[in-house]
Amino acid sequence: MSREKEKAVIVSQERLAEGIFSMWLKLRGAEKAVPGQFISMYTRDESKLLPRPISICEIGKDRESLRVVYRVTGTGTGTEQFSQMKAGEEISVIAPLGNGFPLEEAVGKRVFLVGGGIGVPPILELSKKIVCKEKQIIVGYRDSETFLKKEFEKNGKVYISTEDGSLGTKGNVLDAIRENGLHADVIYACGPMPMLKALKQYAQEKRLPCYISLEERMACGIGACLGCVCRSVSKDSHSNVNNKRICKDGPVFLASEVDI
């Protein structure tokens, strides 16, 4: 026994964009967190039993706090309840969970750090921690509500794509990569499945390693229930079949290892 479901204290709560909220939490679990991991957040509503897996956006320099940037997924949802909580209130969490991005793969290389939609937040801490030759941050948004853009600009060269063309390249992150003539030796990404599929194909064509963070509906978040599996290209040593657990074996995978 070395871990626990703990009570985190909300340090701040802020609305960043339409339906996008940012919360700083003070919690013991922050000590061991690395970029790319997630936390399980529990509502106080006993009719909602399962934790919401939310990616870590930033790790406090004090190692005592974490920032999560999350999307409210609808009326009456757990994430809506999170968004209504205030500084000073307590929230139950298990943190940190899963495996982060492999930072060592970036040393001396040109990298793409790619985020799309609600996959943008975990790329922020990654952009702060990664040490590489050339840091190219490509972030894709729906419209001009480009949350976290200013923070990214402090950590590297930022390229924006928006679906409606209101800012940066009109289209998706790959359109931004092509329009700006960008090149990389390794890719790190988090975002919607179509974006990850496109990046996986791009990386295959260019023969680049591509690390992607996946998501799936989860129940336990700790590798027990087998709810959140993804298909793996070869037989997984734990499951003994071609399934990997996103919560425990991921959420970050080498794109060539998973069948997406």
């Binding site: 026994m1 479901k5 039993l49 799936e216 129940a219 590798g223 027990a224 087998l226 003994n240």
Partner: protein, 300 residues
């Protein structure tokens, strides 16, 4: 006062185990729970060969509960014996191995393979609603349930617990059938088949369309069925279904369960099993019960 219980000749230090499939093989909960504190660990169902399970999404939240259609993904009995049994043997707790299969031969092959392994009991899953063949096919027909029990009993060296489905007209009849087949105990309830539709996208939430509903929302149904089963058979009943705290566990025991399994709530609070053990002890002290046996089925 003590919390020991005897289930089909096997002594547990307390009446609390976990519902199969909610606790992996125990390894995933080791960081959160002192496994030595559990009466038994009931493992995720294992078949004769590895199973890939169903496509995702496999899980969904429901009001006061959840649905799952994992489809009994498992690594197969060989890897289970190599890796999971030695892991659990490090702890002072009973090992209940949940067994799944698609045919009578599958179940018997696993029971035979486990005969000389250091496990304490077998729990035979004839009630999974999420696989097309086997499983539930044996669990909804009394004659088939009796036959599969008889077949497994021919190979099993350990006591056999038959895990029953609530998706039947008469749970009493099913309990009697497996008792007639030679079952040493019954456990119930497995999940209740349900369905959930995303009205905005107009499609099923689970890839399997249907899934098993579990969690506190189904607890009263489970208590009623435990009561009915306990009154129908002489063999011990292990009660489960939405246990969310010590009082729910006690309720099951008062209805006739000799032991209880905690399932879905392990996902809400991975430390809950230990809290329930403590809570049952407090309840016994508060009301002066000397043993669990003194509480079993006393609400008539």
């Amino acid at each position: 006062m003590n919390m020991r219980v005897e289930i089909a000749g096997v002594e547990w230090k307390n009446p609390v185990t976990v519902a199969s499939g909610t606790f992996g093989s125990g390894a995933e909960f080791e960081e959160f729970v002192d496994l030595n504190r559990l009466g038994a660990v009931t493992t995720k169902g294992v078949a004769n060969i590895p199973w890939e399970g169903n496509p995702t999404p496999r899980v969904a939240e429901t009001y006061g509960g959840m649905m799952n259609a994992v489809g009994l993904q498992n690594p197969g009995i060989e890897l289970f014996c190599e890796r999971d049994i030695p892991f659990l043997k490090q702890y002072d707790t009973r090992i209940v191995v949940n067994v799944c299969g698609k045919s009578e031969e599958d179940y018997c092959e696993v029971a035979e393979r486990l005969a000389d392994e250091p496990v304490d009991m077998l729990e035979i899953n004839i009630s999974c609603p999420n696989v097309k063949e086997g499983g539930i096919a044996f669990g909804q027909n009394p004659k088939a349930a009796e036959e599969i029990t008889k077949a497994v009993k021919r190979y099993a060296k350990q006591p056999v617990i038959m895990k029953l489905s609530p998706n039947v007209t008469s749970i009493a009849e099913m309990a009697k059938a497996v008792e007639a087949g030679g079952a040493d105990a019954v456990s119930l309830i497995n999940t209740i088949t349900g369905m959930k539709i995303d009205v905005h996208r107009r499609r099923f939430i689970l890839a399997n369309k249907t899934g098993g509903v579990s969690g506190p929302a189904i607890h009263p149904i489970a208590v009623r069925m435990v009561y009915e089963a306990a009154h129908a058979v002489k063999i011990p009943v292990i009660g489960m279904g939405g246990i969310a705290g010590a009082e729910d566990a006690v309720e099951m025991i008062l209805a006739g369960a000799s032991a209880v399994s905690v399932g879905t709530m392990n996902f809400h609070n991975p430390m809950i099993t230990m809290e329930i053990v403590d809570g049952i002890e407090s309840y016994m002290k508060r009301y002066g019960f000397e043993s669990i046996a003194d509480m079993v089925g006393i609400v008539e």
